[in-house]
Subunit: 205 residues, 4 copies
Amino acid sequence: MDSIAKLTEMFRKFPGIGPRQARRFAYFLLSADSSYVSSLSTGINSLKKETSVCSDCRRYFAKSDSRPTCAICSDTGRDKTLLTIVSTDVDMDAFEKSGVYEGMYFVLGGYVPLIETDEPEKRIRAGHLTDLIKRRSKDGLSEIIFALSATPEGEHTASFLADYLSKLAEDLNFKITHLGKGLSTGTELEYADSETIKNALKNRE
Amino acid sequence: MDSIAKLTEMFRKFPGIGPRQARRFAYFLLSADSSYVSSLSTGINSLKKETSVCSDCRRYFAKSDSRPTCAICSDTGRDKTLLTIVSTDVDMDAFEKSGVYEGMYFVLGGYVPLIETDEPEKRIRAGHLTDLIKRRSKDGLSEIIFALSATPEGEHTASFLADYLSKLAEDLNFKITHLGKGLSTGTELEYADSETIKNALKNRE
Amino acid sequence: MDSIAKLTEMFRKFPGIGPRQARRFAYFLLSADSSYVSSLSTGINSLKKETSVCSDCRRYFAKSDSRPTCAICSDTGRDKTLLTIVSTDVDMDAFEKSGVYEGMYFVLGGYVPLIETDEPEKRIRAGHLTDLIKRRSKDGLSEIIFALSATPEGEHTASFLADYLSKLAEDLNFKITHLGKGLSTGTELEYADSETIKNALKNRE
Amino acid sequence: MDSIAKLTEMFRKFPGIGPRQARRFAYFLLSADSSYVSSLSTGINSLKKETSVCSDCRRYFAKSDSRPTCAICSDTGRDKTLLTIVSTDVDMDAFEKSGVYEGMYFVLGGYVPLIETDEPEKRIRAGHLTDLIKRRSKDGLSEIIFALSATPEGEHTASFLADYLSKLAEDLNFKITHLGKGLSTGTELEYADSETIKNALKNRE
């Protein structure tokens, strides 16, 4: 297999990329600036070395010698009584971008699968979460917010976690909340499903 | 113009129907059962005659000699302290189908347009609404729920109406609420807009 | 069931119309002009009475006392040596609109289904076609053009008909041709399937 | 800007990739196998070094010390009397995959833009093409096939090139052909545009 084919094969592993687009990526690189291609290659190669996993929230962040936690977890100005649980780094990015939350985060790293599985807690970072909660409890943690997608997997994970953390919530005296449900931006009433209408009615304000 | 062309022209006025589908409707009728075609023609012709506008909620309903109001408005078992305002009959159908609401309705018949207009209250059935509110007030009306789409037109209409009804709300002592906002069924956090996340966070439960 | 529901039910039989749009049609008629609604009802009712099936090409046309054939089949200026076979009236409309064909037509009224069936010739107007060919043969018919969609059903029907008419073609001395295949307007080479490229190469000019 | 952001920025330059997917690529690499990431980096870095432009057809191919031309141009079994002109490497891949062509190729590297431009011949590899034609003429070149997309840009390029090469065609005695037009796989007659029907009728067979 030649270099173009080999690289095409590798690009096919990228999320959401089929054979045709993978091949187009290879041709794109062939006709791109040498300096861009070389930066890209270096950037890919050094990405892991220059990135750490935050010891608190478990998200990826640009490594720094001086601290094991990311900019958000290190920010003393944020509200340590709130902990929002998200599934992935991009979910956390979306949440943070909304600009209305001042508390802390934890990234689960996935979902509990819908099909039964042994030790579902291992599919998400349940151990790390428990540790963090215990530490945060000393800083006055009072509420854990589940910010999971309103999809079957998200609901299932939320329900598993609520159960998993219930004893801890009692012992450490924090409450568990879920993101509110209702009409999201753009929802037309005519096309809204009954579940959404039910929630929107219950959460009317 | 021949009969097929004339009928095609008429079908083009149907909501969401282009020239090609209009023509296909005409050919469909040509090859359809005579009894079906004749029932359809009769059904269309008698629709208005057999249908009334409910004198309370203003929705269309099958005419009945005995009463001027629809089945919902005539149902003495429903909660008259609640009045939900929707834009159209189909919105009301969607709402009623969710099966969790036991109160009354009012159908605005449209939206207040986003571009400035003279007497915007005439674009919706504001006069009928005021009358109904006054009557319901005697039955103990305590809350009006705005069930409008989370679209710019829906928001604009809600904001206009809240203003329009504010004095009445004070005088007749009812509160105005809006359907709750947040994640709707299927929303993935990663793709949620900031407004939706903000609402979902505020309405967490 | 009330009038709105009954009419909604009837609109659901329209090609390509689901329950939601059917219902919207009913509400549209409720709020439409009375004169429009009445014309529509009349138009639907009289459509069949005012329309004939052309005794030659079998398409629908506005009935006329004086002749049993449609405007195209009655047009003495058209080329009777050519006969184009299409599946439906709308296919014939599309073909005629291209404005480059001066010959005659025949409308099959359907496709031969892909799954095996008894007497497939009855699924299309094979008998009428044979009769017409025999008559046209006396006017010098020299070529029958299959203008069928490049879909599995279209190909299957073309192949069935080619077989079905082969003996007649020999006896009456006409040739059978098929619409040319190749790049259609808008085809990007990158996305063209191998069959299309093969045909485009073979038919290069 | 941190490493994740920098890499995201670079992925955004990939064809068809927006900010969200670019970011997802970066997170994908963070969680991917180290050996895969390292191969990808190396593959990108060495791609240009291991790839040549074929001195005949101008497409990219895996470099080899021994020859300046790609596998197809070096294949003595192919028919040198035919030369197919395509716009890009991927177009050539699609054409070759159809498996019915045994001749040679030339890759233009783009299209002549629709808006007027100075020296349009410089937007495509017109000089290289002329050189190749002259050389191939000695091997008996008899036909040049334009295999360009049936899009406005493709048609415009074909028309420009036909003009550009007309003198040469006369001098060197080769003919110029275009891919055939007609129904492409899946075309439904009802939805076919008039141009396609016209071509399909003209190219009937």
